[in-house]
C-alpha cells in the first residue's frame, strides 16, 4: 500500500511516518504528543494533523468548539512613522482604512498581481502594525518585505517568540469568557483587544480560518502550555476537542477560504482567485497595482471555482479537470466535506467554462468523474 498525502504529492506510507528530527516544533510539541496526536510535517514544522480523528474534530468546531495550535504561523511587527507607507506599498488591500484594534485580510503581491502570500494586517496604533503570514513563507515574506522597504520602516520578526492558539466554533466565546479579563462581546469580527487570558498577556483577535465564530490568541510562546491547558479545562463542559491541521483544512475548504501553496501562489493572480475584493488600486501605487488594474478592466482569463463531485469519488489537488476530453485546468484543493456529506474541491477553469451550474469532469485514477460547478463558500454558518 502506498499513500499520497493530500497536502504534498506522492509518498509511500513508510515516508508518511517520516523521520522528523530536522523539523521545527512549537512550544506545545510535547503536549500534542501526550494527547496522542498524529504528527506530520507541514511547511517545515512537525504539527498535529489529528488527535481523536478529523471527522470528530471537524464536527466539534461546527457544533461546539475546537482548539488549534497554530503557533507555526509567522508574525512581523512593522513600526515607525513609515510603517503604514510600507504596508500600503507591499499589500493590495487598503490598510489606511484600519483603525486601532482592527484587522484586515490582505496579500503581498508581485508586480504581475500574483500572490507572494496572503496575510492578516493588524493595526495596533498609527505607527505599529502586526502582519500574520503563513508558516512556510516566513523567511521569504520577510525577505520580500525588506527588499521593498525603501521607507525605512522598522520590521521585526517575532514568529519564534509568539504563540498562537485558535479557539473556533459556536461555543468559542462561552469557553473563553470564563478565563478572559475582558468582555469578549466587545470585540467585533476582525477586531482585537489586548487583555489577560488565564493570567497571560494576550492579544485576542476575533478571527479564524474555519467559517465559524471564534478567536485567535497571540501571546508570548513561553506561556503556551499554561494557556493551552486553561482553555482545555474551560472548554471541557462544552465538549471542546483539540483539533489538528486535518480538520483545519476541511473546515477552511468548506468555508471557501483559500490556502496559499495550493489555491493561490506566485502563478495565480488575486483576481483569478476571486480575491478582487481585497484589491484596492484606488489607494494609490503598490507592487502589482498596474497589472491588477489592467486585469480588473479586462477581466481575468481563468477563475477559481467551487466543484461538487456528482459521484462518490473524491477530487484531490493536482487532479486534471476535463471538458469535452480537453484538459482545461486542475484541482487545487479537494476533500470530502464532512458537514455537507459531499465531495468538494476548488479548481482553476477558463472563464467561459466557469459558470455556476456547468459540469466538467475530474480525472481520478484515469477515470473521468463528473463534477458540477457550484458557488462558494460551500458552507455558510447561520447567524442569529
Amino acid at each position: 500500500m502506498s499513500a499520497r498525502s493530500a497536502s504534498r504529492g506522492c509518498a509511500r506510507i513508510r515516508r508518511l511516518v517520516l523521520r522528523v528530527t530536522d523539523l521545527r516544533k512549537t512550544a506545545l510539541f510535547e503536549t500534542h504528543r501526550s494527547l496522542k496526536a498524529r504528527m506530520v510535517p507541514f511547511g517545515g514544522w512537525n504539527m498535529p494533523v489529528e488527535y481523536s480523528g478529523i471527522i470528530q474534530e471537524h464536527t466539534a468546531v461546527r457544533t461546539s468548539v475546537g482548539l488549534f495550535d497554530v503557533s507555526h504561523m509567522g508574525e512581523f511587527i512593522v513600526s515607525g512613522p513609515e510603517a503604514l507607507n510600507l504596508i500600503q506599498f507591499v499589500t493590495c488591500n487598503d490598510a489606511s482604512r484600519l483603525v486601532d484594534g482592527q484587522a484586515q485580510y490582505s496579500a503581498l503581491t508581485t508586480e504581475e498581481g500574483t500572490v507572494v502570500d496572503d496575510l492578516l494586517v493588524y493595526r495596533e496604533s498609527a505607527n505599529r502594525y502586526m502582519l500574520v503570514v503563513n508558516a512556510a513563507n516566513i523567511e521569504s515574506d520577510l525577505e520580500w518585505i525588506q527588499s521593498h522597504n525603501t521607507f525605512i520602516a522598522r520590521i521585526e520578526n517575532i514568529s519564534s517568540a509568539t504563540g498562537l492558539l485558535a479557539i473556533q466554533g459556536p461555543l468559542a466565546l462561552d469557553t473563553l469568557r470564563v478565563i478572559a479579563d475582558i468582555s469578549l462581546n466587545s470585540i467585533a469580527p476582525f477586531h482585537f483587544a489586548r487583555s489577560y487570558v488565564s493570567g497571560v498577556d494576550t492579544m485576542i483577535s476575533r478571527t479564524g480560518y474555519t467559517g465559524e465564530d471564534g478567536f485567535e490568541l497571540y501571546f508570548a510562546a513561553a506561556n503556551s502550555v499554561q494557556l493551552w491547558n486553561s482553555i482545555m479545562s474551560a472548554g471541557k463542559r462544552h465538549g471542546l476537542l483539540p483539533a489538528g491541521l486535518g480538520a483545519r483544512n476541511t473546515l477552511r475548504l468548506e468555508a471557501g477560504l483559500l490556502l496559499h501553496g495550493n489555491d493561490i501562489d506566485r502563478t495565480t493572480t488575486l483576481l483569478e482567485a476571486g480575491l478582487g475584493w481585497i484589491v484596492k488600486p484606488g489607494k494609490g501605487h503598490f507592487v502589482g497595482s498596474e497589472s491588477l488594474a489592467r486585469e480588473k478592466a479586462e477581466g481575468p482569463k481563468r477563475k477559481l471555482v467551487g466543484l461538487e463531485m456528482l459521484g462518490p469519488e473524491i477530487a484531490r489537488e493536482h487532479y486534471p479537470v476535463v471538458v469535452d476530453e480537453q484538459e482545461v485546468g486542475h484541482v487545487t484543493s479537494g476533500s470530502p466535506s464532512i458537514t455537507l456529506k459531499k465531495n468538494i474541491g476548488l479548481a482553476y477553469l477558463p472563464v467561459d467554462l466557469a459558470a455556476v451550474g456547468e459540469t466538467c469532469e475530474v480525472l481520478i485514477r484515469k477515470r473521468a468523474c463528473k463534477a458540477q460547478i457550484v458557488s462558494t463558500p460551500f458552507y455558510k454558518r447561520s447567524r442569529e
Partner: protein
C-alpha cells in the same frame, strides 16, 4: 498485535492463505497511518493482477493510498459490504475489513512476504 497466521508485505497488506486461495487486507499499522477511511475502490471478480500491482485504492479524509497485491492472482470475491461501510477498515482490519479473495497464481511468492514478527520489526524500524 498483528495476527500470527497471516503473511505481510512491505507495502502494508496482509494475506491469509487457505489452500490455493488468499484473503487480502491492509494492516492495522496502515489504517492507523491513513486515519478514518471514507472511500474504497476495489477491482471486479475475475480481474487478474501480478504481485505488487495496484488493485484498488483507499482514501481517508486527508489522503489517498493505493492497494498493492501481496501475491499474484485472480480476484474470486470482493468484500461487497465494505464499500458502504468503509469505517470497517479502521475498526477491524484483520476481520470484517478484508478487501478481496484471490486464487493464488504462484505459491512460491510467499517467500517474499514477512511473518507477523518480521513485519512488527519492519514497522518499528521504519518509525
Amino acid at each position: 498485535m498483528n495476527p500470527e497466521g497471516l503473511l505481510y508485505s512491505k507495502d502494508h497488506e496482509w494475506i491469509g492463505i487457505n489452500g490455493d486461495t488468499g484473503t487480502v487486507g491492509i494492516t492495522l499499522h496502515a489504517q492507523e497511518a491513513l486515519g478514518e477511511v471514507v472511500y474504497i475502490e476495489l477491482p471486479g471478480v475475475g480481474d487478474k493482477f501480478d504481485a505488487h500491482k495496484s488493485f484498488g485504492s483507499v482514501e481517508s479524509v486527508k489522503a489517498v493510498s493505493e492497494l498493492f497485491m501481496p501475491m499474484s492472482g485472480e480476484v474470486i470475491e470482493v468484500n461487497s459490504t465494505i464499500k458502504d461501510k468503509p469505517e470497517t477498515l479502521n475498526a477491524d482490519p484483520y476481520g470484517k475489513g478484508w478487501l478481496i479473495r484471490i486464487r493464488i497464481a504462484n505459491p512460491a511468492e510467499t517467500s517474499a512476504l514477512l511473518s507477523a514478527q518480521a513485519y512488527d520489526n519492519y514497522i518499528s524500524a521504519e518509525a
